[in-house]
Amino acid sequence: MNIHIKNGRVIDPRNKLDAQQDIYIVERRIAALGQAPQGFVAEQVIDARGLIVMPGLVDLAARLREPGYEYKATLESEMSAAVAGGVTSLACPPDTDPPLDEPGLVEMLKYRARSLNQCRVFPVGALTYGLKGAELTEMIELTEAGCKAFSQADTPLTDTRVLMRAMQYAATFGYRVWLRPQDSFLAKNGVAHDGEVASRLGLPPIPVVAETIALNTALELARETGVALHICRISSAAGVAMVRAAKREGLNVTCDVSMNHVHLTEMDIGYFDSNCHLNPPLRSLRDKAALRAGLLDGTIDAICSNHSPVDEDAKQLPFAEAEAGATGLELLLPLVLKWAEQERVPLLDALGRITSHPAQLLGVKMGHLTVGAHADLCVFDPQAVWKVAPAALKSQGKNTPFNGYEMQGRVRYTLLDGQLVFQQ
């Protein structure tokens, strides 16, 4: 279908474009910006007056809960949440049941996602079988099946020899290893940042050294093996400083942060709000400030939703017994806009953290509006103010620490491959 998106402010971070322009889509791809291509006849016109037209969002961490946890969420529910949030590409961690350690599982997931035709799903393969940290997965086979990187999700790999070999093997073929740094011994039974709030509420703590020790191990092994290392969901000031130093040294390391940690701290736990039971834990005000500084100076490359839908029953429990996680796909864009406004970050830079940067980290061709690119777009109203109401979320996971928050910026249209997949 030929689509004409007119009168919008087009922001394309990859091409450093921020201008009032029309976009012309022909045959699922971006055919032209500004001037209509010769002989273009629009079959559909989207009037984007007052709206911002940007590449579809690329989210580095969204759990779809399939296979294995369909009671928490399904591909249908979460992909409709994704497009409602303007997300057209997402990476899903391998901690499904069974984990994504077999090419067949990955192919099945890709097939199911494709048939729903809502959002592109890029699986992250398990680094070790069953995420058990003992045997390497068939990384070549998994890559051929569609995996874009390899990770342990939230299951730490305690055997450093296995970790080193996994990195060596991945480095051999140029595969990227994604790790969320957390020492399993120091974090054992922990549910909250080892700080003032956990001490006051009597919550089992997770100290910052749980992150920095694991991070140091990962960085040392990356230096040794030369693997491309991506640090997921960094949470502490000390961790940001280590990544900054590693980047300065020239290590091939990249880093993301969850939108929750950009906005919240341990204080938000209040009186045991289980919506704030997250992995990694919300840390101190100082840590939040350091994460924001890390985003500003480029130490942290991307912001992800860390979308982890949890069923209602699993949250209706005392804080420590409640399952960690929060829904996020529908909140990623407004929370990035909020951060940009608070920190006075130009939209061109801010939106790059959820489009071109993560696309590059994932090694996919999405996340930009170059002529000839797949027409994955998000059109949003930067002025629209709305209140987060769990019942109104498309995601099956209704729990979010931002429940009741006022958001500014609302997705009006989402296009995937030149097709309108969401509008409101």
């Binding site: 001490s199 006051r200 509420l201 919550l203 009186y271 045991f272 209706q316 429990l317 005392p318 420590a320």
Partner: protein, 318 residues
């Protein structure tokens, strides 16, 4: 953020923690408790009809004979109907969630819940969940809070020391795992005690404990010097696992309360313990049974204080 224990009139709706509990409410509870105790030597507690026709459910997800019994006696002295439920882990292992259990008990027309649970925050969760006419008393949640214990401790201190503003108080032992210690610290600082100390090895103190308003000591000699009140904490045997302490013997050697150690405190210092005591682990028998110990009066006062808490809750506007 609203204080979840107070209603819109600023009255006590639930008793969940001593943190953020206004000093006036604490003092009212202590004053009310005093009216339940007669002034004779044997400290008899009179039966009064304040909770006649009300049902108090003692819901214990974690076993405790002692605390449950004192709540039961307190409720009966107020003429309430008492239902005891030792749920232990059984109902959760049968698949029923905590809030389902609570819903079922609400359907049995409970007016007040006395809740103990092994997880921090359980009482808050229940308080948020129940209908506004139902009151929740936290009888201990995980490591978080044990407010009635702290209030009976405050009663005891006031009974023997009259004032709070001129005291030096030392809390000794496993602060890290102790809901009693956390509640004591908040109660003491709220009532105006100028110097609250904690004395323990670093493995038994939570990080940033000083932010609770206490001074940290690792040495008994220094920690007990010139204090007016020594509040001992129970040391669970399981702390010897998990690399927190090497042995009960070594702990007693450095942190056990002996007559010799107590000698550096003020001569009129009182010694308290929430019970049950581990003699020879945190406290020497000669101290536990000695002239400065007020451990048994604590238990009697505990009944009056729990009566006062229940009567206060029952008297709050809906």
């Amino acid at each position: 953020m609203n204080n979840p224990q107070l209603n819109s009139h600023g009255e006590l709706q639930h008793l969940l923690t001593t943190e953020g509990l206004p000093a006036r409410i604490m003092r009212d509870i202590l004053d009310k408790a005093a009216t339940f105790l007669d002034n004779t030597e044997n400290k008899e507690i009179k039966k009064v009809p304040l909770l006649q026709g009300k049902s108090v459910f003692n819901v214990f997800f974690e076993n405790s004979t002692r605390t449950r019994t004192t709540f039961e006696i307190a409720a009966k002295k107020l003429s309430a109907d008492v239902v005891n439920l030792n749920i232990g882990q059984s109902s959760t292992s049968k698949g029923e969630t905590l809030l389902d259990t609570v819903d079922n008990l609400c359907a049995m027309h409970a007016d007040m819940f006395v809740v103990r649970h092994s997880t921090s925050g359980a009482a808050h969760l229940i308080a948020q969940h129940v209908a506004p006419e139902i009151h929740v008393i936290n009888a201990g949640d995980g490591r978080h809070a044990h407010p009635t214990q702290a209030l009976l401790d405050m009663y005891t201190i006031r009974h023997y020391k009259k004032e709070f503003h001129n005291l030096r108080v030392a809390i000794v032992g496993d602060v890290l795992h102790s809901r009693v210690a956390r509640s004591q610290i908040h109660a003491l600082t709220t009532l105006g005690v100028p110097e609250v100390r904690v004395v323990a090895p670093k493995t038994l103190l939570p990080s940033h404990v000083e932010k609770l308003g206490v001074q940290v000591y690792h040495d008994m000699q220094q920690g007990l010097k010139d204090v007016d009140v020594v509040m001992m904490l129970r040391l669970q045997n399981e702390r010897m696992q998990g690399a927190l302490l090497p042995s009960a013997q070594e702990y007693f050697k450095y942190y056990g309360l002996t007559q010799e150690r107590l000698a550096v405190a003020r001569p009129d210092a009182i010694v308290m313990h929430p019970g049950p005591m581990n003699r020879g682990v945190e406290i020497d028998s000669s101290v536990a049974d000695g002239a400065q110990a007020v451990i048994l009066p604590q238990v009697t006062f505990g009944i009056a204080v729990r009566m006062a808490v229940m009567a206060t809750l029952a008297g709050s506007k809906q």
